[in-house]
């Protein structure tokens, strides 16, 4: 491939949208993904993303903005899990498993009952970054602002709650509030990311970059910059590869993430005696 091809690709408006949208989504999933990974909450991310399908479907069914309905369901799921974890004798995994499978099933049923125009369900299951709209990008920037603002205000509290919630409590950190805030941010980030990789693969954006960087980071200060770099780099490579090779964009991005992860894992993830 020569430079002229790249220039031609960059002239395409849908590619411009995909690059901008992919960049923002890669950044915010990486930022929140650091905390999701270090809190060992990969399954929560997966659960919230699947459950949000019910919101999208409901939005189309009652003709109310699917994005906002998805946000509502995702936040409901995030808050519900956080609330029940403290109050139920069931394990977190069981609670999440029950919640997300029910809501995912509900989403599929509602999608099929929706009369008139509705997009293909596969758009939401597997994502389609090449069909991202300016409205999607607008929402992504809004969520990015929210995430950056939250990090600016609560970075120390997020980190301390994640590392050692008891010690955080003893330093007057509002641990319960921080737990809710991290989960709600995770839910909102997941919803804006669905257009890029779909509900089935979105947790890959949250988990893979942070997991790889965890293997090589010399300190926590490196975690967020390196994870964001990994995520943006992988998303752009995956985006261009999917366009050039005519492959599904979401799956291609996740495969690129997976290849980078495997290289890091083979180099750093296996202890050598």
């Amino acid at each position: 491939m020569d430079n002229i091809d790249i220039v031609e690709i960059l002239k395409l408006e849908f590619m411009q949208r995909a690059i901008i949208g992919g960049f923002v989504v890669a950044m915010i999933t990486a930022m929140i993904g650091v905390f999701v990974t270090l809190r060992k909450e990969a399954f929560i991310g997966d659960g919230i993303s699947h459950a949000s399908l019910a919101g999208i479907a409901l939005g189309f069914f009652i003709s109310v903005a699917p994005f906002w309905m998805a946000v509502a369901v995702a936040v409901f799921m995030a808050v519900g899990i956080t609330f029940l974890q403290k109050r139920s004798t069931l394990s977190s995994d069981s609670i999440i498993g029950v919640f997300f499978t029910l809501l995912f099933a509900l989403g599929i049923v509602i999608f099929n009952l929706t009369p008139g125009y509705r997009p293909e369900i596969s758009t939401y299951l597997f994502g389609s970054i090449l069909s991202i709209t300016w409205a999607d990008i607008f929402y992504a920037f809004g969520v990015a602002f929210l995430v950056i603002l939250s990090f600016a205000l609560f970075y120390r509290q997020f980190l301390y709650t994640t590392l050692d919630s008891e010690a955080a409590y003893l330093r007057n950190v509002k641990v319960r509030l921080m737990n809710y805030l991290i989960r709600i941010l995770t839910a909102i980030v997941i919803v804006v990311s669905i257009k890029v990789v779909g509900v089935i693969l979105v947790s890959a954006l949250l988990i893979i970059p942070a997991s790889a960087v965890k293997l090589i980071a010399k300190n926590f200060g490196q975690m967020i910059p390196l994870t964001v770099t990994f995520s943006i780099f992988g998303t752009m490579i995956g985006l261009f590869m999917s366009y050039i090779l005519n492959l599904p964009s979401g799956a291609t991005i996740v495969l690129v993430f997976g290849i980078i992860f495997m290289v890091v894992f083979l180099l750093k993830g296996i202890p050598r005696d």
Binding site: L38, T89, R156, L159, Y160, L163, D164, E166, A167, A168, Y169, L170, R171, N172, K214, A217, K218, N219, F220, G221, Q222, M223
Partner: protein
């Protein structure tokens, strides 16, 4: 007596976990500037007691006061430093000792000076740049001790802090704690090591069968040894029981 004479007071403190009674209507008071060892068999509720005092677990009933005020999070954060058993931390968390301790600091300049002094006391300043997964058990324990001291707390609670320390580090820790105690700090030290208690304790708080007995080392330790050899209710509740069950301060 002025309420500030007590660093910690509990009134009818009752705690159960998953329906199992752990502490049953415990009343105790710990003098400001005291150095108290909390002892008792495994599962007797030593850690539960201090966690209830610090508000880290929900209580079923009763009241806890710190320097005469309710144990709100703000009050606890202002007055108590805590050294937990190190096992609770995720050792694979990608963070250095320095970053972890910095989380405690609000005034970093002042904080770093004191951190340096504490590490020097424990002969461990070389640990600052290491990631926590590169620390041995004893080194991690020292880091947690320093972290508990960062805010220069009036009360320091240590939960079995010597379990991973070598003999020299034991001695360094006790010198540090004695020094702090001489400067007016209240020290509460959980241990199940009878040798440690025998060597260093003056006042002992003993937990057994969901209840608390307090007294001087000699009187408590005679009971404690007995119970270790032959765990029998008659030893704690019988006629030769220390002059107080479930609420009395024999030397105070």
């Amino acid at each position: 007596m002025d309420k500030k004479n007590f660093a910690i007071e509990t009134t009818n403190l009752t705690v159960s976990i998953n329906g199992n009674s752990i502490l049953n209507s415990v009343n105790l008071s710990i003098d400001t500037g005291g150095f108290v060892f909390v002892v008792g068999p495994n599962g007797s509720g030593k850690s539960t007691l201090v966690k209830a005092i610090m508000g880290l677990i929900d209580i079923d009933g009763g009241e806890v006061k710190v320097f005469g005020e309710k144990n709100t999070q703000k009050n606890i954060a202002s007055n108590i430093g805590y050294v937990p058993q190190y096992v609770g931390l995720d050792r694979e968390f990608p963070i250095t000792v320095e970053e972890m301790i910095n989380l405690e600091c609000e005034d970093k300049g002042k904080c770093h000076k004191e951190i340096g002094e504490h590490f020097e006391y424990l002969d461990s300043h070389y640990l600052l740049k290491r990631k926590i997964n590169q620390l041995s058990g004893g080194e991690m324990q020292k880091v947690l001790i320093v972290r508990g001291l960062v805010k220069n707390p009036e009360i320091l609670i240590l939960d079995e802090p010597t379990s991973n320390l070598d003999t020299a580090s034991h001695r360094d820790l006790y010198l540090l704690l004695e020094n702090l105690n001489e400067r007016g700090k209240t020290i509460i030290f959980i241990s199940h090591d009878l040798n440690v208690v025998n060597k260093f304790a003056s006042k002992v708080l003993y937990l057994y069968e969901h209840e608390v007995v307090t007294g001087d080392r000699e009187s408590i330790l005679s009971q404690y040894r007995d119970l270790f050899d032959n765990r029998s209710d008659s030893n704690i509740h019988g006629s030769n029981h220390i002059n107080y069950k479930n609420h009395k301060n024999t030397d105070g």
